[in-house]
Each structure stands twice: as structure tokens, then as C-alpha cells.
């Protein structure tokens, strides 16, 4: 299988007053196309920083990052915006839908930024995929938390990106809705999408094929799920 993500020795430091914090201290990892991976670790471990870099939201200080065969470590802000638009679909803990826009308009937006043809039709299809084909004209404040997260997922998959990058996608949802959202991710994974979840929640992490455990800016541990666990992922 082909690697969709390959990082070599990523380093990122922050300066907080006098202190220099090494948020990432040499992270090398590879994620295959079609994999479902969890990145876990305690608060302050550097997993958010890793997610920001993997999501092309900001550059690492050093190290290389190859996304879908293209080295993106040294790209400019606008080029990174294009990469995010084409290759990455974000799903956030707080949904992050744009206010004053309908569900459809929210999902359309990345397609419009990417200059896609038939943005409306594709957005509509994405919303049908997440089971919200009947609520496309509702604004986000008229939707429940679960519905909002479904709109956010529809927005993430609308451009058909190489990876889905989810940051605590069930963190703001009740257990039952969280299960539904996890089931939706399972279904998307089953369709062949690459899913990367950044999470604290061991239940969420357990549903992934592989867990990458980050501590103090390094990969401390990697567990590959057993055959059974793998099965559980699809159930």
C-alpha cells in the first residue's frame, strides 16, 4: 500500500516568554492510504501541534513532510491553502460551521474556494452521504450538535480529499450521538477514505486500526489493532 503521509524528523518549538518548548521533537511517521489511525496522548504532549502540521495549517521548524507524494514542508501560505483545500478535510470538536450560512452553503464553501464546478450539486451529494439531505437549507443554529457535526463532515468530504483529519470529533456530543458520528466515520473509512483522529477518548481510539501515542513531542508507542480489533472497526 502507498503512503499518503510520510514525515521525517518533524521538529517544532514554541517560545513562551523565556522558556523554549519543544512541542514536536523528531516525529517520523507514515500513514497508508485507506488507513484509520488514532493519534492519542495527554494534554500538552504535542498531538495538537502534530495535527496542525499534518493538516498543513502551519509549517514545522525542520524535518520533511510528504503529503500525497508532494513535499509540503516548505510551501508558502497560499500554496498551503490550496493543499488544504485539495487534500485535507477537517472535522473539529466544536464543529466550526460558519454562522449565517445554511448547511448547503457551508458545504459549498471549500468547493467554491477550490474553484470546483457544480459546487451546489457536489455539496448536496455530500450532505446526502452524511444523512442530511433533507436539512440543507437550515442554518447551523437551527441544527442539533450531531447534525452540525454531520454538516462539518459533509464539508470535509465535499472536495473528496486524500485524508480526513478529525480533532476530537465526538468531544462535544453525548454518548449516543457520538456513537452515530463514529459509525459515520467507520462508513467513510469503509468507502476507502483515509481517516486520522486526534483524540483523548480510548473508546474512539480503540475503533481505529492503529494508535499512535505521543508523549513529550515524540512517538512513545504504536499499537496495531489485532485482527479482531480490526473487525470491530468495521462493525
Amino acid at each position: 500500500m502507498q503512503n499518503v503521509i510520510e514525515t521525517t524528523n518533524l521538529v517544532k518549538t514554541f517560545t513562551l516568554g523565556e522558556a523554549v518548548v519543544r512541542a514536536l521533537d523528531g516525529v517520523s511517521l507514515a500513514i497508508q492510504r485507506g488507513e484509520k489511525v488514532a493519534i492519542t496522548g495527554p494534554s500538552g504532549s504535542g498531538k495538537s501541534t502534530l495535527m496542525n502540521i499534518l493538516g498543513c495549517l502551519g509549517p514545522a521548524d525542520s524535518g520533511d513532510y510528504v503529503l500525497a507524494g508532494e513535499s509540503v514542508a516548505r510551501l508558502s501560505g497560499n500554496r498551503l491553502a490550496e493543499i488544504r483545500n485539495r487534500y485535507i478535510g477537517f472535522v473539529f470538536q466544536t464543529f466550526n460551521l460558519l454562522p449565517r450560512l445554511s448547511a448547503l452553503e457551508n458545504v459549498e464553501l471549500p468547493l467554491l474556494y477550490g474553484g470546483a464546478r457544480d459546487a451546489r450539486g457536489r455539496a448536496q451529494k455530500a450532505l446526502e452521504t452524511v444523512g442530511l439531505g433533507n436539512r440543507i437549507y437550515h442554518e447551523s443554529n437551527q441544527l442539533s450538535g450531531g447534525q452540525r457535526q454531520r454538516v462539518a463532515i459533509a464539508r470535509a468530504i465535499a472536495t473528496d480529499p486524500a485524508i480526513l483529519l478529525a480533532d476530537e470529533p465526538t468531544g462535544n456530543l453525548d454518548t449516543r450521538t457520538g456513537q452515530e458520528i463514529m459509525a459515520l466515520f467507520d462508513a467513510l473509512h469503509a468507502e476507502g477514505r483515509t481517516v486520522i483522529m486526534v483524540t483523548h477518548d480510548p473508546n474512539v481510539a480503540a475503533r481505529c486500526q492503529r494508535q499512535i501515542y505521543i508523549r513529550d513531542g515524540r512517538i512513545a508507542d504504536q499499537t496495531r489493532a489485532s485482527a479482531q480489533g480490526d473487525q470491530a472497526c468495521y462493525s
Binding site: A81, R84, N85, L98, L109, Y113, G115
Partner: protein, 403 residues
Amino acid sequence: MLFLTTLKVALRSLLSNKLRSILSMLGIIIGVGAVIAMLAVGRGAQNQVLSQVTALGSNLIMVMPGQFRAGGVRSAAAQTLLLDDAQAVLEEIPEVVLASPVARGNVQFKYFGENKQASIMGVATTYPAIRNFKLADGRMFTEGEIERRAKVAVLGADLAVDLYGEDPDPVDTEVRLNGVVFAVVGVLERKGAQGPFSFDDQALVPYTTAMNRILGADYINEIDLQVGDGVDLESVQARIEQLLRRRHKLRDDEDNDFHVANMAEMVEAAQSVTGVFTLLLSAVAAISLVVGGIGIMNIMLVTVTERTREIGIRKAIGAKDRDILVQFLLEAIVMSTLGGLIGILAGVSTAKAGTMVTGFPTVVSSVSIALALTFSLSVGIFFGFYPARRAAAMDPVEALSYE
């Protein structure tokens, strides 16, 4: 498509905060409204002056006693112009076709119970032709009547109404001027207001009558001259000056004790006054436009900060710096242009209301509307650019984690 969505978002975010948007637009509204109203007043004044020229005839040259000073004629107390001067100009300057002396004075008009203080103009029979006056009824007095200092008068339209009431028919009646009985032989057509004084509020009498029977003066207040078409006014004026200087025996080092003016000069003087007026008020209006722009800039900075998270989200899903810039710039432009449109509406209504109340004519030109729109658009671009650039330059990670 993206532009349409961007515009929609801009409109919605303005609508979602109506009071704030309107308050921010207020500066532009007032600025543009003031510009439109001021230009309308200036244009109205200019048109009025121009209509005076056509009403009075552009072939008119006036000789007045006293010196001409920039900005106006000195008080006409000087008694340097004589009847013979008028005669001499007519005889010695061939381009001068018609001439009439003007002896002016205020008298008490009385017709039965009605009393009115108004001016009389002692003039020659040629005066209506020089000044473009027409008779509404009756006739002008004759050379013979001038010869024998006849007590005859031709009334201005307003004066006739004041003395005789609506739809006056004063011809062949008698009025008293300072107690002396005059026969009314004609009524002039209405000219309309001509700046500060009205030609409709006076009566014409033979100059001989005015000077000898009423005013008791041996000098005149003005000589009105008509020159032929296509004549070089400057050279005629210069020769009139030479002639009068000689007649008044002025030495070379002495200033003229009279002034020769043509209508074009009078118009220029009036226009320069209205021009300065318009310029000053426009400057005030321009300042208020700048203040309005600063108001918009201020609120846009607040908006950008408030919507930091939104900017982060947009960047995460692939918005380039330019997309963000356009988003916020468009919002500022929509705000300033909308303010401009409301301001135009306010300015036009103010001008119209002003005309209705004061009767002073105002003219809203399409140029001033285009100007106001261009200005408010530019204000939006200029003052919206900095906040929009700040939004565009935000770091996506920081913007996304902004609470």
C-alpha cells in the same frame, strides 16, 4: 459564484448587526448628503446667475459712477456721471447702438388706500430694448413725453400687483408718486427675481421727469448701453473709458471716477463668489467623508477581531489570503456604498426640501451623484483595506484557537 457567496455573507453580517452598521455608515451618509446638497445649492446659484445674463442680454455694457473694487461695486454715492456723458458715448462710439441714462431713486407710491415704497428708474425710451424688458400692457412713454417732462409711469409687474391687487389693470389710471399725480401708461412683463433686487418691483419714468420733478438731481446713477452683435466688448469698453476720462478731465495719475462693466464680468464676479462658497462647503463635506471612513475602518477592525475564528475556519478549508481580503474589503465597500446611496437620497431630499421652504433653486446634477458614489466607494476601499489585510494575514492555527 464565490463572489456571489462572498457578497451574500457580507450583506448578512451587516444585516445581523443593523444598529452597528447604520451607526458606522452615519459618517458617510452625512458626508455624502452634505456634498450632494451643497453642490445642488452651488449649481442652483450658478444657473440663476446664468439665466440673468440671458434675461438681461449679453450685449449690455453698464457705466456706473465710483470705482470698481474686487468683489463688488462701491456705494453709488459718487455723482460723477452726467446726462451729457450718455449722449457723448452714444455719439462718439460707433459700436454703441442704444444708450439710456438711469436716474434712480426711492419714492412713495400711492393708489387709493395702497401705499408702497419702491424705486423709480428715470430712463430713456430705449431702456426696455437694452434691458430686454417687454410690455405686458399699454405702451412705453414717448420721446415727446421725455421732452416735456411728462408725469407718466410704466409699472413693474409686482409693483402693479401691490398697488392694484391680483390681476391688476392699471393702464389709464393715476397713481401718486411722493404726492404728485402720474398717469400709468403701461405695465412691464414679469422678469422674475434677479439676485438681490427685483426689476419687477419698480416703475419706469422719463429721465427728465425723474431728475427734475422727483429727485432734483443733475447727475445720473448709471448709463446702460447696447452694442451690436459680435462686437469686441473689451475694445469698446476701453474706448468708453478713454472718452469718459477725457470728459471728466482726469489726469494720468488719477483713477477712474466711474466703472465700465459688461454682463460677462458681473457673471464672473458672481460665479467666483458662489464658487468659493461651494468649494468651502465641499471641503467641510470631504472632511466628514474622511471621518466617516475612519468610522468604517474602526468597526471593520472590531469585526475582524470578532470573527477571528471564522477566518481560521475559512483558511482551514482552503481560503487563500486574497479570499479573506476580498471578503472583508467587500464588507467595508458594501457598507460605505450603501451609506453613499442613503446619503445621496438624504442630500437630494434636503435640497428639494430647502427649495420648497426658501424658494432658492437647487439643481442636483448626475455628475455630483456619480462623484458621491465614486467617493464613497473609494472611502470603503481605502479605509477597508487595512482591516481586511489584517484579517488576511492571520495565522490559521492561531485564528482557529481564538476564543
